[in-house]
Symmetry: C2
Subunit: 103 residues, 2 copies
DNA sequence: TCAGTAGTTCGATCGTCATCGTACTACGAT
DNA sequence: ATCGTAGTACGATGACGATCGAACTACTGA
């Protein structure tokens, strides 16, 4: 096994500016929507995005460091999932508000 | 009198990416918090901000064009207020979630 | 052990945007 | 009229960040 969780901020270290800035980018918003549709977590590479793998990694890192998502390893794969509980506790309604946008 | 409302997007023209990007900037978030504390509207210049007047005007324009706030003239002054109803209708919970951040 | 796959890291590039100072407009008061 | 005040518009600058390719790491399976 030896799954490992990648470094991320504790709940009380999450700053709303960082969260909003992370969410205010179209590619990252696409990622967040995909994660919201799959509460069990999604393998990074499975999300269809109009960018290369390195850019994808960059966005995932940004979202993780902002506290929006959590990533753990699973073999060579990395599974990401939304930090729903933490975000809901810190900013109740924010996530559902964003996700209810009819885009 | 002759108060005039500055150009702004209709409710159905507001895009969530633009809103989040607008909110993901510390100075603009400060403005939004100040407006939230004064539902009757605030004169732009009354908000204490660590930037010059031209930068302030730039941020207010960004927020207005994103659909976050509405501005109308009042003599030489311009009164801004949050578009609470529109934002709540489009993204229910988003605004309250953001404002509940203990910053 | 070796090849293949998933993903990251690094450095470079390029575009966007936050910031400022200056010049301008608009309105009110004297 | 003209002066002062509130605010905008414009052009320049500098910083940040989105993007890419290439090199690298880590794990799996043959």
């Amino acid at each position: 096994m030896a799954t490992k969780v990648l470094p991320q901020p504790e709940r009380d270290e999450i700053r709303v500016e960082a969260v909003l800035q992370a969410l205010g980018e179209p590619v990252r918003l696409t990622i967040v929507r995909a994660l919201a549709d799959n509460p069990a977590g999604v393998c990074c590479g499975e999300i269809e995005l109009p960018v290369t793998a390195s850019t994808r990694a960059h966005h995932l890192k940004t979202l993780r460091e902002a506290g929006v998502l959590s990533t753990h390893t699973d073999g060579t794969r990395r599974i990401s999932m939304l930090r729903r509980e933490d975000l809901e506790a810190l900013y109740p309604g924010l996530l559902t508000g964003i996700l209810s946008a009819k885009q």
